[in-house]
């Protein structure tokens, strides 16, 4: 591989290969003639309300050379958009993506195309990411041809070598993708990504479509290849078991934002963000004696068109922080939160004041909070749901620090010595850095000094 006609900024092992800073990607719907248009049955029949989907908002992280950064989150949280924006397959709305010291967000055209030789991607669906009318050999050779690597014979030899490396038979150079099983197709994808000898591969749910037994084979192969070719992975998955198996560090996303980032062991054994905890609790364990899942989250992910203020997870958070003006016990506060969410979801039918009180308030709060609850109950018995909802939301949910301030903290890890970022106000007392300093963009950030006692 010496005939390369481009310069490469080399990065040493353990140094940042990729630095993403305050990256945002918005999608709007007001493009085109009918953009943002909605039809109505009443006059004026047509209205225009342009809205913006904030798919990725203010995300910062580093990936060091040779490591695997796992990225988890539920469907729709912006994982894939983030990956595509990092690779400049989508243009970022703002922010920067430094790859080997060059900002990908500002370059375009030929320089960007040449950069792509160092960054490759593997997609989720092994079926649709391979051209069914091309043979496997030419598929693997195509990136090399696009980047002018080697001559015809050299490319064929390298394609065959790579097929063997990923665990296929080089003799299948002349087969079409349909002759391969799902796991084997994903191996072809791997070989294609490797063909231009990249430093960095983004794997977007590469094993989600495969059976467990095949999944294990592909994951093992990916690890072997990482060691052999010195690769850096950004590994996206929604399956935490897979993430735990393959990652060195793990980032958790919720509704377009990163809520926690830490070393793998630290994140799994000492999670700080309630969302991470909820995700971990939700993983099914293949063991009938494990007692099943506990503490399940309720509700659905809110729409990214109009995300909640402050902490985006607060509408589902099981441990929302009580506003300072109240002085309720934990039991009372959680009853209030549960009641507010139930009203919002119209979860119960009855408007009978006593029944509702019995259902939600074993410990009824007194004082200001008690008065507010009483008012809300009166609204409900008058069937004024909207008023009750507004009152409860305004006085309780929106008054919490979780709604007013955007959290960003860094805590000292229990395991290992990596940095541990957690966007949750509950860790504010144990935090060693907060706000912008806790963002992973603190320039020249060395090891963080231990301040504040651990809990």
């Amino acid at each position: 591989m010496s005939g390369r006609d481009r310069e490469r900024g080399e990065v040493d092992e353990g140094e940042s290969l990729l630095e993403v800073r305050n990256l945002c990607k918005y999608f709007d719907n007001d493009g085109g003639l009918f953009g943002g248009m909605t039809l109505d049955r009443e006059f004026p029949f047509v209205s225009r309300n342009p809205s913006t989907v904030r798919a990725v908002e203010d995300v910062s992280f580093d990936i060091k050379k040779g490591e695997t950064l796992g990225l988890v989150g539920e469907s729709g949280c912006g994982k894939s958009t983030l990956a595509r924006t990092v690779l400049r397959l989508l243009d970022p709305t703002s922010g920067s993506v430094d790859f080997k010291g060059e900002d990908l967000a500002t370059i375009s055209g030929e320089p960007l195309r040449r950069k792509r030789q160092d960054m490759q991607m593997i997609f989720q669906d092994p079926q649709s990411s391979l051209d069914p009318r091309m043979k496997v050999g030419p598929i693997v050779e195509e990136p090399m041809r696009a980047h002018g690597m080697l001559d015809e014979e050299g490319r064929e030899a390298r394609a065959k070598e790579l097929l063997e490396k990923v665990g296929l038979d080089p003799q299948h150079y002349n087969r079409y993708p349909h002759a391969f099983s799902g796991g084997q197709r994903q191996r072809v994808n791997l070989a294609r990504a490797l063909s231009v000898n990249p430093d960095f591969i983004v794997c977007d749910e590469p094993v989600s479509a495969l059976d467990v037994s095949i999944q294990a084979q592909v994951l093992n192969t990916m690890q072997d290849l990482q060691d052999e070719f010195d690769l850096t992975y950004l590994f996206i998955a929604h399956d935490l078991s897979v993430i735990r198996h393959i990652s060195d560090r793990v980032a958790v996303m919720y509704l377009g934002q990163m809520v926690e980032l830490a070393d793998k062991e630290e994140l799994f054994e000492n999670p700080q963000h309630p969302y991470t905890q909820a995700l971990l609790d939700a993983i099914p364990v293949p063991d009938p004696r494990s007692g099943g899942r506990t503490n399940l989250l309720t509700g659905d992910v809110p729409s990214p068109i109009d995300p909640p203020s402050g902490c985006r997870f607060r509408t589902r958070c099981p441990v929302l922080i009580q506003p300072d003006e109240f002085d309720m016990s934990d039991g009372e506060w959680s009853a209030v939160v549960e009641f507010q969410r139930a009203v919002k979801r119209r979860e119960f039918e009855t408007t009978n004041r006593r029944e509702v009180r019995q259902q939600y308030f074993e410990e009824a709060p007194t004082g200001d909070a008690g008065t507010l609850i009483d008012d809300a109950l009166s609204h409900i018995s008058d069937e004024e749901w909207a008023e009750a909802e507004a009152l409860l939301t305004e006085s309780f949910a929106d008054a919490s620090v979780c709604a007013t301030d955007e959290p960003a903290y860094e805590v000292s890890p229990n395991l290992g010595d990596g940095r541990h970022y957690a966007a949750c106000h509950r860790v504010r007392d144990a935090a060693v850095a907060s706000g912008a300093a806790a963002d992973l963009d603190a320039p020249g950030s060395g090891p963080v000094e231990e301040l504040g006692a651990d809990d």
Binding site: G167, D169, V212, S213, P288
Partner: protein, 372 residues
């Protein structure tokens, strides 16, 4: 134990294609009793979905049920007898197509499919579809059915059901659509619900919510379930008894605890070993070698022998039938593997064979060539 609710005996379903006969389901037998959740586990291509479609007689040409017997509450869903010309023909007591359609499907046995978007009609409202289903199957008037539909939506945890009633499927999230299908399945209070990978397309958090809901509803209505899945964790969580399928056959059957703690069949063991664990860090996964062979040309003898770490000569020759390996007085735990003494085919004396899946055109990583 009392009479089983559903009993499947030696069921065989085959597809007659240009390339030959695909024996998708090849002689499976299992029972479902009242109020229990029976798991049907296996990788893609094991024949799980064909088996469940066969129970409802939904197999289409070129597929055909060619043998076996399915009994549901004493009625014959499928059964053959020898005709005058020596050819098998449907028995007289077998339910007619009309009876199946009007009485069994939906009313007595409901089914929930994997992809909730494809099971709901995108041009009708969710409430309308649910109402229609209730109206037809329970002979209620339109208004009563609507009330019932809203109640069902609330029961399965749809927020603000009165206003969501008039929304279209695309306005629902994946988890909510699946809830609607569960509401639809439960609406006629069937005795048996077949759930064909209903949570596979969902996130873990939503999957957890749905499984919890199913457990609650199952207790409330005392419905039996056949739960088809490829995910051992889901099995561990909700099933009472489990059947493990490989290439059209059931190779192990046990109560859920026995299956995980006293695993008998090497395939089940391999399946468990190949899963990454969420509760601990595993450095190297132990995958099953190779891929599942085609059902059109299954390996001789034990069908798993080509991928089995314990394969011996005898495995290639003898086709094991499932046998009960449990101790006296213990619940049934059967497996189809000649490794166990109960089979008496001389496994111990037989010579180990090289597993075919380790060489040639396989998915195992070959250790050749080095450098870039």
């Amino acid at each position: 134990m009392s009479e089983p609710l559903l009993s499947v005996d030696n069921l065989k379903t085959q597809f007659f294609t240009e390339d030959g006969t695909v024996r998708a389901v090849d002689g499976i037998s299992f029972d479902v009793y009242e109020g229990e959740i029976v798991g049907l586990v296996g990788e893609s291509g094991a024949g799980k979905s064909v088996a469940t479609s066969s129970i409802l007689r939904l197999v289409d040409s070129p597929g055909e049920i060619v043998g076996g017997e399915i009994t549901f509450k004493g009625e014959t869903i499928f059964g053959l007898e020898e005709g005058d010309d020596g050819e098998p023909r449907p028995r007289d007591d077998m339910l007619s197509e009309k009876e199946m359609r009007r009485r069994i499907r939906g009313r007595e046995i409901a089914i929930i499919f994997q992809d909730p978007m494809e099971s709901l009609n995108p041009v009708f409202t969710v409430g309308g579809q649910l109402r229609e289903f209730i109206e037809i199957n329970r002979d209620l008037s339109g208004e009563e059915a609507e009330e019932e539909a809203i109640d069902m939506l609330r029961e399965v945890g749809i927020p603000a059901p009165e206003s969501r009633y008039d929304e279209y499927p695309h306005q629902f999230s994946g988890g909510m659509r699946q809830r609607v299908l569960i509401a639809m399945a439960l609406a006629c209070q069937p005795d048996l619900i077949i759930a064909d990978e209903p949570t596979t397309a969902l996130d873990v958090t939503v999957e957890g919510q749905i499984l919890e809901m199913v457990t609650e509803l199952q207790e409330k209505y005392d419905t039996s379930f056949i739960w088809v899945t490829h995910d051992m964790s889901v099995v561990a969580e909700i099933c009472d008894r489990v059947n493990v399928m490989y290439l059209g056959e059931i190779i192990e059957h046990a109560e859920v605890d026995d299956l995980f703690y006293e695993t008998k069949h090497p395939y089940t063991q391999a399946l468990l070993d190949s899963m990454p664990r969420p509760d601990k860090t595993v450095h190297e996964l132990d995958p099953i070698k190779g891929v599942m062979p085609e059902a059109i040309d299954p390996p001789s003898g034990c069908r798993f022998h080509s991928r089995c770490p314990h394969a011996r000569e005898v495995c290639r020759e003898v086709h094991p039938e499932q046998r009960d390996l449990a101790d006296e007085g213990e619940p049934t735990h059967s497996a189809a593997c000649v490794m166990y003494d109960a089979f008496e085919v001389g496994y111990e004396e037989s010579r180990p064979i090289e597993t075919e899946a380790t060489g040639g055109f396989s998915a195992g990583l070959t250790e050749t060539g080095d450098g870039e």
